[in-house]
Symmetry: C2
Subunit: 206 residues, 2 copies
């Protein structure tokens, strides 16, 4: 008896905590996944690819999609719009995939409110703020101003860790990846309330 | 960095759904566990062993323990008291064990209210009501009256499946056990809110 369709895994945490490395380390161990790509109005940066890092759209396009209720969640950060389109997520869920979101605390809030029945969330962070600063400076992709912004945001976000189902401290990549694999495998076992209700009805009728 | 102490896995579901078989099938795959033994005032049945199936106590003893707040949860069912003593659970958590509860929907409610941060819950049932009846009659340990009572209770309990984190339909024992192993392994990764708060404080101070 298979009541499962897809499920959602939300990953949040400061830029520099190692989310991307963790995700690429675990994807071949957790079955079929769909990695949700956000839509944004911010300008494309050097090295970024449209449709890979983000879907880059104009503000007009973004607002049109808001009006048509095409977003699962969206937010404005530093004057730029960021959002998650609903339709590819629905399609991936229908295909039984684990949909992975790399979104911030606000985004998690929105997803949890709309799809709590199939959502598992994980906050990923460095063991210390010091270590986060160290990693951000070392990757040297960002200006000092951007790094300062990321650190401010990280300080605000860690305050809300307890809203998440799990906390993974990315101290050693291997160990953190092992924990994330366990969480992702269980996340896939969530069943939509709709299916549960249908199951209960058919159970009683038998 | 180890923030984890123990965690809790609540298993509920109708008598006859195969909880005991599932538990004994998975215990050697999920690391150190402590199986919580309920305390009851109901008479011991043939084949039952004090301290294995239940802690059997008198009503006076039970009421004394209530007064001393020694129960994590307790309830009265058909005039008999059933409860979960707090102290062995605390001890097992301190030892980093996964504490497994085989309790009803009421008990789950109580545990979730008091220890939600480290609790994962699973409702286990047969694929159909018909199948449950079949299994209850086949094991022939219960009188028709007891079986009828179990079925009534099952019908009430399935209405509350969506209060649980997971539903496992015990259609094929092997498959259900595999799913339960995944859930139990992830359940162990829950971190107490207290530890999270301490972590956030030390993170910021670094």
């Amino acid at each position: 008896m298979n009541l499962r369709s897809g499920a959602i895994l939300v990953l949040s945490g400061p830029s520099g905590a190692g989310k991307s490395s963790l995700i690429s380390k675990i994807t071949d161990q957790i079955g079929p996944t769909y990695f949700s790509i956000s839509t944004t109005t911010r300008p494309m940066r050097e090295g970024e690819v449209d449709g890979v890092h983000y879907h880059f759209v104009s503000i007009e396009e973004f607002k049109r999609e808001i009006d048509q209720e095409m977003f699962l969640e969206y937010a404005v950060v530093h004057g730029n719009y960021y959002g998650t389109s609903l339709s590819p997520v629905k399609q991936a869920l229908k295909e039984g995939k684990l949909v992975i979101f790399d979104i911030d605390v606000q985004g998690h809030d929105a997803v949890k409110n709309r799809l709590s029945d199939i959502t598992t969330s994980v906050f990923i962070t460095t063991p210390t703020l010091e270590e986060l600063k160290h990693r951000l400076h070392n990757r040297s992709t960002d200006s000092d101003e951007v790094i300062a912004g990321r650190i401010d945001m990280a300080k605000r976000e860690v305050q809300r860790i307890s809203e998440y189902d799990f906390l993974v401290v990315n101290d050693k990549l291997e160990a953190a990846a092992d924990i994330l694999v366990l969480i992702a495998k269980a996340a896939r076992m969530k069943i939509p309330t709709l299916q549960i209700n249908e199951f209960v009805q058919s159970w009683e009728a038998s």
